[in-house]
């Protein structure tokens, strides 16, 4: 967007404004954002939306099929599946988002340090990144969780442990070119310390790839949590997560299919919308493709 010479009123133009205009024209991304917001709101407002408490046992209604009273049916303990799915959304979504925040921060810090300081720091950090990238991620987190028997907070850290490498590489790449730029040189000449140059000058200019990578990583984190809980090493019952609801449903899948369909649909819907959102953000923020 360059300034025009015609006599039209000057339109607002900034990175974020341009990005928003492109983003709002992208139907897939917009739908993703809206669906995700609805899911998050439904999970947050679970006490208002669900008529039953998620762990309330109703022995008169074991294994009820979906009906007007129990929208998603009930499980083998007579717990309302709809309520559990909403409450599970709180756990699964917040673990997905929290672990992405952690992994994106770690990745950005590692990438910034490696790209800015270069030399030994760069080779040590990047070799470490290579090493972690060489271990198959899922087996690694399964083993980690089996060892630790994690609380939700620790689970966030475990999932983050396999998610930071991509961001680190991206941010390092951005820093490598920014480090050589004139404005960084100017900032240094006016007496800025390294930390200030990194935080005030280089970081804001390398943030867009990190944001896109982080958005797409939320989907991975949600899936990782669900796999861990499905295998019984993630969120422990009675606390519901989409993954452990599916673990509970697996053995009775043939006779009570609703128990295994709905939690999976929630995972699919949330990951799908996060991916749509991330894809849209990539197109909207990719300045090179739109310059």
């Amino acid at each position: 967007m360059t300034a025009r010479r015609e006599a039209v009123p000057v339109r607002r133009s900034s990175l974020w404004w341009d990005a928003w205009r492109r983003f709002s024209r992208d139907r897939l991304a917009l739908t993703g954002g809206i669906v995700l917001a609805v899911l998050a709101l439904a999970a947050a407002g679970a006490p208002l939306l669900a008529w039953y408490a998620p762990n309330d046992v109703d022995l008169k209604r074991l294994d009820a099929a979906p009906s007007a009273v129990h929208w998603f049916g009930t499980d083998d303990l007579g717990r309302d599946e709809f309520s559990r799915a909403l409450y599970a959304g709180r756990v699964s979504l917040s673990i997905g988002i929290a672990s992405t925040l952690v992994s994106a921060s770690v990745g950005t810090a590692v990438g910034a340090a490696a790209g800015y300081y270069g030399r030994l720091v760069d080779s040590v950090l990047m070799r470490l990144t290579d090493v972690v990238l060489s271990i198959p991620p899922l087996p690694l987190v399964i083993v980690l969780s089996a060892i630790v028997k994690p609380s939700p907070q620790i689970l966030v850290l475990i999932i983050a442990a396999i998610g930071w490498m991509g961001t680190a590489r991206l941010v390092r790449g951005a820093f490598l070119s920014i480090r050589e730029s004139e404005y960084v040189e100017a900032a240094r000449a006016t007496g800025c310390g390294s930390l200030r140059v990194i935080l005030r000058h280089a970081l804001p200019n390398s943030l867009t790839p990190a944001i896109v990578a982080a958005t797409l990583a939320v989907g991975n984190a949600i899936i990782t949590e669900s796999v861990l809980s499905f295998l019984g090493v993630g969120i422990q019952p009675p606390t519901a997560s989409w993954g452990n609801m599916l673990q509970n449903a697996e053995s009775t899948m043939a006779t009570k299919p609703w128990l295994s369909v709905f939690p999976g649909l929630f995972i699919l819907l949330s990951v799908l919308s996060v991916n749509g959102l991330g894809d849209g953000l990539r197109d909207a923020l990719d300045v090179r493709a739109n310059a």
Binding site: L133, I135, P136, L138, P139, I142, V143, S226, A254, G264
Partner: protein, 313 residues
């Protein structure tokens, strides 16, 4: 080129040492140590434990244990499984074929889909079929593999009764193939979706190039332009991604094998986690990491072979 290859091949040695250190350290953290499985056994006394600890060399300092283990490992001595008493190498050897069969079939499925769908959606951009393929790819990327497996079991095996729900084989190759269909579809879905997106964008990129316009301008039939001129360059990014995605495929295989009771290495991994079978666990993690490192190296090499514009020193 030769120096480049040698240098890269040498480069995987420190990488593997790093991996082995992380894995070794990780498994040291198991509560109760490698002998945890014996702690709750009433027939094993404290004296027996001490004896075992000495016999396995677990009373040595950590770095001694690591060096011994790594040295033995490099020579192919992978130890004896704590839970079954069999040599780990034998145990794993029995699991390699099913895993390779499963991963190979899904790789072939995913690649076939990715090529057909990717090329088609690049050539017929904005068509209804392209839209449907995009939706399908997004679904594939966003679906947890274990849930897809469950749904395939539910619909195709339980309700329609076309294929067996799980397991490997009751005998004969035909039966193995029938058992193979559902798990390999479940495992292929993610990479199929991902790779078809890569093929599509790679082809779109290439079809925009000047030399394609030249090819069309000199009157070549469209088929020849797409498949002879565009495809060769459009596939370069895909080759790299396929090799790099082996880690994702390995991860997916662990889950798929668990859901479908497929007697492969992923299944063995989960079993050895449950039974705290330390040597088996380490060996599987080491082997799969080794495979990933090698495939990354392969990606590098292939990239340089396929794209002569890239100069390696």
């Amino acid at each position: 080129m030769t120096t480049f290859l040698l240098r890269r091949a040498m480069g995987i040695v420190p990488l593997l040492i790093g991996v082995s250190m992380i894995l070794f350290g990780l498994l040291q953290a198991i509560p109760g140590g490698p002998l945890a499985v014996y702690l709750n056994n009433p027939y094993i006394t404290g004296h027996d434990l001490a004896l075992l600890r000495h016999q396995f060399g677990l009373d040595q300092p950590l770095y001694v244990q690591y060096v011994r283990w790594f040295g033995a490992y490099a020579l192919g001595h992978w130890g004896v499984s704590y839970s079954s008493g069999q040599p780990v190498a034998t145990l794993i050897a029995g699991r390699v074929t099913p895993t390779l069969l499963l991963m190979g079939t899904s790789l072939a499925l995913a690649l076939t889909f990715a090529l057909l769908a990717g090329v088609y959606s690049a050539v017929r951009q904005y068509s209804a079929v392209e839209y449907a393929l995009t939706v399908f790819s997004f679904l594939g990327i966003s679906m947890p593999v274990f849930w897809l497996g469950l749904m395939l079991q539910l619909v195709i095996a339980v309700h329609l009764g076309w294929l067996p729900v799980a397991g490997f084989s009751a005998g004969g190759w035909g039966d193995v193939v029938r058992h193979l269909v559902l798990p390999s579809m479940a495992l292929a879905m993610f990479t199929a979706g991902r790779w078809s997106r890569f093929t599509r964008s790679g082809m779109l990129e290439v079809l925009r190039q000047d030399y394609i316009r030249t090819a069309r301008a000199k009157g070549l039939p469209e088929r020849r332009v797409v498949f002879r001129h565009a495809l060769r360059n459009g596939l370069i990014p895909l080759v790299t991604v396929v090799a790099l995605d082996l880690a994702a495929l390995v991860s997916g295989a662990v889950v798929t094998e668990t859901v479908f009771a497929w007697p492969g290495m992923g299944n063995l991994l989960i079993q050895s986690i449950t039974s705290v079978d330390y040597p088996t666990l380490l060996a599987i993690l080491m082997l799969s990491s080794f495979a990933i490192v090698v495939s990354n190296l392969l990606a590098d090499v292939l990239y340089s072979v396929l794209d002569p514009r890239i100069v390696y020193r």
